[in-house]
Symmetry: C2
Subunit: 337 residues, 2 copies
């Protein structure tokens, strides 16, 4: 038994989440049933998808129930166990909650991880975690990039976008990144190897399309979309025949109404394809991606920036950085040393 | 030499075309150069795509030049020839103009057709022509329908839509058609074998989505979209995981501004794919489709309704039927007996 602080969802947010939507409670950890183990969470992955799970809307996972901890991927060490395959002290990671301790099932979705395979254990929440696997499968399995092709990435300085740009470069592509503000754009070329950085701020759909076309006069082979709305529309105008659009995220609308897309006619004119990417469809194939992502992280093929805020009491402001753009890398919350 | 009436584009239409955008002129046919033959056009295929070619906008084909005949697929008999492979009296079809006579190049895109393979020579402009080949490749090559799957078709009473529904049925699918008005909806089930007909008229996006979900409680495997806008959005809400959306036409916006799509997030949530279809990418594969389409037309597997108006002087009102919905089948203009 231990004191367990848990960050609960107590009201469904209307737009951007506010403090009254949540409550931090402290309860005792329950006794374990046979086959269970108790995970002491050290780090929590904060991802835009969490915002979707806060709504009472049908999705690929059920909504977070009111009164439950906010669902998130965590990584920690096993603190108590009833199963020999899950020894105390071992690192494990899975979809749990923002809480000090999570009760997990042996053989379930919280799996042991090899701390020696990565430079930092937090990499299992970043380049070797959901965002790494997302970038890997969305780009390689759906986009099928070929050497010499041009890849356009929106949200290019973000967690997924920065990895997509680097994997595309590793596959011999030319990369164009779109981000908001001069500082992020500087990181695109300096840190993530983008050939061209485009700042979308203050630009109309038409001006942005013009700038994309100037950067890729022969057009875009793969448009990797993390944002949606006007940025999606601008990229569509530069698509090449048989282009592939990867719809990976629509962060422009996570806290608001859906943003319209006006330029789907370009898919017809170019005989192009738009693939929606959902990570859950790739769970059976995780083992294809993780060793390669770990190797790329070790050898520096991919650089991952992690923005680590501390303290479970800072869960909400840390989460909101995803939407105001103030994070500088994959957003992680540290809740134990 | 013969008198050649030609239906010229003389001004780019603003929205719906009007009579002053065109002029009917009569000129003499020119002498043929070696390798050319003269086609006496009997029938002209009127298709929504022609409206796009009237705009001065980049597309998969250049715009129709002002002063040129309106571009269209025609079928006719060879009236004069310079080449032994193209004898006088033979039937041939290709992308020419709305005019009594077209000068064609031997070995070019106007090809001989076998009048004995089809019940009516006009079938080469309908079930065995561009719309047949469109329905065939867009559904079978992009949609890959499996027996027992559910296929939703918008514009289901239209030229492409009626064929898509019938080909999907022949492949063992359940078919749901969307059309405007009770009379068209009655034809969906009576003539084209649709299992369910849905009338979109007077319904909000939400009401339409509700009706689609009621008709397909387990969801839609393939959404075959000929219309766009609110109908596309409504269908997206009923999409199954790994669903396929075929974007074949967006007739709702041919004479107006692009209609927005709000529900692309469904592609992400369902891990679904949207394929734009453009016929030109399938030109090298025409020979795969044409014999099977001709056989299906002969044996009644597919029923094709042709709406044949007469007289080159009626080209504009006949064309406009495509947009006001007053045609009752594939729109064809007969310009010679």
């Amino acid at each position: 038994m231990a004191a367990n602080r848990r960050f609960l969802l107590v009201r469904r947010p209307d737009g951007t989440p506010v403090p009254d939507d949540f409550r931090l409670e402290t309860v005792e950890t329950p006794p374990l049933a046979p086959g269970q183990f108790l995970l002491r969470n050290h780090y929590v992955s904060l991802d835009p998808a969490i915002r979707g799970w806060m709504d009472d809307a049908p999705s690929y996972l059920p909504p977070i129930a009111l009164g439950d901890p906010v669902r998130a991927t965590t990584i920690g060490r096993i603190a108590e166990t009833t199963h020999p395959d899950y020894p105390v002290g071992a690192w494990a990671s899975g979809l749990n909650g923002i809480e000090d301790y999570s009760v997990c099932q042996a053989g379930g979705f919280t799996t042991l991880v090899d701390e020696t395979a990565v430079p930092s254990i937090t990499n299992y929440l970043s380049s070797v975690g959901a965002i790494g696997v997302t970038a890997y499968f969305a780009l390689l399995d759906l986009g099928k990039p070929q050497p010499g092709e041009t890849v356009l990435v929106s949200g290019a300085a973000g967690a997924v976008g920065s990895l997509v740009g680097q994997i595309a470069k590793a596959k011999g592509c030319r990369t164009i990144g779109i981000a908001g503000g001069a500082e992020k754009c500087a990181r695109l070329t300096a840190d993530y190897g983008y050939d061209v950085a485009i700042d979308y701020r203050g630009k109309s759909r038409e001006a942005l399309a013009e700038e994309i076309r100037a950067a890729a006069p022969e057009g875009i082979d793969i448009q990797f979309e993390n944002v949606g709305g006007e940025i999606l529309d601008a990229g569509l105008l530069a698509l090449k025949p048989k282009g592939r659009v990867i719809l990976c995220g629509l962060i422009s609308q996570y806290n608001s109404e859906p943003q319209p897309a006006y330029n789907l006619w370009q898919l017809i004119v170019q005989g192009a394809t738009m693939h929606g990417f959902i990570l859950t469809h790739y769970i059976p194939r995780m083992a294809e991606a993780i060793p390669e992502l770990a190797a790329w992280t070790r050898d520096g093929t991919i650089r991952i920036d992690e923005h680590i805020d501390e303290g479970i009491e800072n869960a909400l402001p840390a989460f909101l950085r995803l939407f105001d753009g103030s994070n500088r890398g994959k957003m992680i919350l540290k809740i134990a040393d």
